[in-house]
């Protein structure tokens, strides 16, 4: 494998940051070499510097896409961390459906929009689809529920969209009973069944770019992606996510992540042992104000 120089790392990490927001530093030399080395060789390039130059100057996005596919970490599994899916089943979906049913009518059925903001190869989206199917069963088609999965990697989105998984991907997180119920054998692996596939749409989207045009969502999953960004970009991302969340919507982040000190627009809430986030309903230092208010009144009473 071709060795990368510190200067090449500087150039390439700058480039990768520009096109994806993914922050990589000098400690990641092995990552550049193992992931981008094959690209350098395959394109017959002299070195990593030339790869960077070629990618920046085009023509087209082919090389950029190949670099993003190679450098993004698509690690994911079905029912990852389990907690969020239990939360969905036991708390979020029942609450949302109750709230929405009150407002719904015969003509306008209950509608829910759920977004997996970095869905990688689709396991998160299909895990949500399975929860929906199991919770609502034959009532499912009485609701208008739309799942959207987006990711910056073309290759990941293509796989998510096909809904095909190899033996090892299936073995990670998917219980046997769910496998036989919701997948059918395809080639050497498995393919998600059509009714579940039909609940979801997948498309490429870079979270560093504006996404307000997607509209409002009732539930947003943004798990294990912000950790690849700089603290400043993380903050901005969650600020913007606050903008696409319905007022009573839910945000779910990764098990090792926290918005404490990152985005004051969200309040953490707890259900059993799971944490989720909702938009603040009151001004952020509500408690402090109410105390100031009460002391003020008391003081004026005694005066």
């Amino acid at each position: 494998m071709k060795k990368i120089t510190p200067e090449e790392i500087r150039q390439l990490s700058r480039y990768i940051y520009d096109v994806s927001g993914i922050a990589l530093d000098q400690s990641k030399a092995y990552l550049f070499e193992t992931r981008l080395g094959p690209l350098v060789e395959a394109h017959g390039l002299a070195d990593y510097a030339e790869l960077c130059r070629k990618a920046r100057t085009g023509p087209g996005k082919q090389l950029e896409n190949e670099i993003v596919d190679a450098i993004s970490t698509n690690e994911t599994l079905f029912f990852r961390d389990n907690g969020p899916f239990e939360l969905l089943r036991n708390k979020i979906l029942p609450d949302l459906i109750d709230a929405r049913s009150a407002r719904a009518s015969k003509i306008l059925p209950v509608s829910l929009r759920i977004w997996s903001a970095a869905c990688s190869t689709g396991q998160e989206v299909y895990s949500v689809a399975i929860v929906l199917k199991e919770l609502l069963q034959q009532d499912l088609n009485r609701y208008r529920i739309k799942l959207l999965g987006t990711d910056i990697s073309d290759a990941a989105i293509a796989q998510a969209s096909r809904g095909t998984y190899g033996k090892f991907e299936i073995e990670r997180g998917l219980p046997r009973d769910k496998l036989v119920k919701y997948f059918r054998p395809a080639g050497a692996g498995w393919k998600i069944k059509d009714d579940l596939r039909a609940m979801a749409t997948f498309r490429k989207l870079n979270l560093m770019l504006p996404f307000g045009a997607l509209g409002k969502f009732d539930i947003v999953f943004c798990r294990n992606v912000a950790i690849y960004f700089t603290p400043q970009d993380r903050k901005k991302l969650f600020e913007r996510l606050a903008g696409v969340l319905a007022p009573d919507g839910y945000l779910i982040i990764g098990a090792t992540e926290s918005l404490t000190g990152v985005c004051p627009r969200f309040t953490p809430r707890r259900h059993l042992r799971s944490i989720y986030y909702q938009l603040n309903t009151a001004p952020k230092n509500e408690l402090r104000k109410s105390i100031a208010h009460r002391t003020g009144r008391r003081v004026s009473l005694t005066a």
């Binding site: 395959a42 105390i291 002391t295 003081v299």
Partner: protein, 194 residues
């Protein structure tokens, strides 16, 4: 499973088309080349997971030439050879030059699929292994930061609770005075954590 990006090289248009017709619906993305020269052009532009090439082709480079070019470029691309009956010996030679496997013509598509699925599984696993390592590194770092941040806040809250407790026990002070002190503790804590 990940899509394989496949280059098919054969001077026979029927074989080319047939392979495309069988593989494209299975989710593989297919590029066709009618000779070795065109194959090298494609390989210069794009990264292929697999090159399937006829061994005996007129002109230069032939199948062996395509194989050698692919091997020279990168260890990443796997090469499958298609051979006629007569050229099995050459095929065995080619395996020594680094081909992943060879198939006899006419192509048995079931066999070809099995070979491709195996390559896909293998490529998938090596990507998964790499990703797992990086995901672990990044997650660990992020978790450490999160824990530190939360510990800090827990300490501030603990501290303010302690101070409030003490204030409440100061029964010699007027209720309003105590309330004012509680407020000042709280507001100091809020400033510290935000």
């Amino acid at each position: 499973m990940r899509n394989l990006n496949i280059l098919v090289v054969d001077d026979d248009p029927v074989t080319r088309k047939l392979i495309e017709k069988k593989l494209a619906p299975a989710g593989f993305s297919i590029t066709l080349a009618e000779n070795g020269r065109r194959a090298l052009e494609h390989m210069g532009r794009e990264l292929f997971d697999v090159v399937i090439t006829d061994l005996m082709m007129p002109g230069e480079p032939d199948g062996i030439g395509v194989l050698k070019a692919a091997r020279k470029k990168s260890g990443y691309t796997e090469v499958l050879l298609l051979t006629g009956h007569a050229s099995v010996d050459t095929a065995v030679e080619a395996m020594k030059a680094g081909a992943a496997d060879y198939l006899q013509k006419p192509v048995n598509f079931h066999e070809l699929m099995i070979r491709l699925d195996r390559i896909a599984e293998y490529k998938n696993l090596s990507k998964t292994a790499l990703d797992l390592r990086e995901a672990m590194d990044v997650t660990e770092c992020a978790a450490a930061e999160t824990i530190q941040e939360l510990e800090l806040r827990a300490a501030v809250l603990q501290d303010v609770l302690h101070k409030i407790g003490e204030t409440l026990r100061q029964t010699d002070l007027a209720p309003d005075q105590r309330l004012a002190m509680v407020e000042s503790h709280l507001s100091a804590a809020f400033t510290e954590v935000s």
